[in-house]
Homo-oligomer: 202 residues x 2
């Protein structure tokens, strides 16, 4: 029997419930546990709503919010790939594209195509909206690391130079004013770390 | 020292991280744990994005999404009040209004006032946007109960009549076509429950 449009939409909404069980590397700010990708997506949508005036160019906040709400649904099939894992980005991109086709393919055709296009726009990061969305997706975990005293940087022995190279270009490109804040935070964080390290014998 | 607008926004975004630790009564669909209010808000925003054509009247989907993203932030101060708890709705409303004033008061004045107004519009449930948002906020936990074989209804010994009276008016008012689906689901669910109950001695 052919599913109705409503049945397809409800089926998709049930399927994406699984994003609540995809665990990221970042902790909650109170360090009680790791964050999952569904609540991360909610938080990023709130970041977009509140920080839109720091975007690099003119953005449509509502499109950015929609992009961020769905940017991670592919992780239902692929899992979260942490920024510090050093995994091959080519095979990851292929797997995520397959997951996007499967998931958005659950929806009525036109709606599925529209959301797939929005997800692809985010991945390509060429439009103003996508550049800003990508910047927020890097900014939020950086903020978490700063306000939890190191977070995933401490766990993965990440250096100041690595933070600058892994977060800097994406945040600076989409939200230069936010990157200016990050530069201060990161510099202070690593200076404080260094001052707590035992001195080497001279 | 006076906080800048950006500092205020980042402070608010850090504060609402706590919504990830507010636990609702509803389980995840795989029953692995209870849902939290942050991931619930993400899911509802996705419901709004996908189900907007079932709204009772013309709605601005992006306003509905924004409303749903922030509708539960007051629970950071007040906690989640389950639909089947029978708590006094007057004192709850007062507490939530105080929480909204405190939380949105963390933001720069104009932005805080706009979001507070959007939250109040949701609570009043008089505009088309708010009626649809409220309907989804009732529809999602009903769907969870159906697809987990009873969920919070089983836990709280809720009857078919109570489901109809506690969910029906709000869903029917904001999304009548979704309520039509719910009526079928709920009727079938309770009929199946009854057929599994031990027969009373005649």
């Amino acid at each position: 029997m052919q599913s109705t449009a409503l049945e397809k939409r409800l089926n998709f909404l049930r399927e994406i419930d699984r994003l609540k069980s995809v665990i990221r590397q970042s902790p909650l700010l109170d360090k009680s546990r790791k964050e999952n990708s569904a609540e991360h997506s909610w938080h990023l949508a709130m970041y977009a709503l509140l920080l839109n005036e720091y975007a690099c160019g003119p953005v449509d906040t509502n499109r950015v919010i929609q992009m961020l709400l769905l940017h991670d649904v592919v992780e239902i099939d692929v899992g979260d790939v942490p920024i510090h894992s050093g995994s091959s980005s080519e095979s990851q991109a292929e797997q995520e594209a397959r997951a996007a086709t499967r998931l958005f393919g659950l929806l009525p055709q036109q709606q599925g195509s529209e959301l797939l296009a929005l997800w692809q726009e985010f991945e390509l990061a060429e439009t103003e909206d996508a550049k800003f969305a990508k910047a927020l997706d890097r900014f939020q975990p950086l903020l978490i690391n700063i306000f939890t005293g190191g977070g995933t940087w401490t766990e993965n022995s990440v250096s100041l130079e690595q933070v600058f190279s892994r977060y800097g270009p994406t945040i600076k490109r989409g939200a230069p004013l936010l990157w200016a804040v990050c530069e201060q935070w990161v510099t202070q964080h690593f200076a404080a770390q260094a001052s707590r390290m035992p001195r080497q014998a001279s």
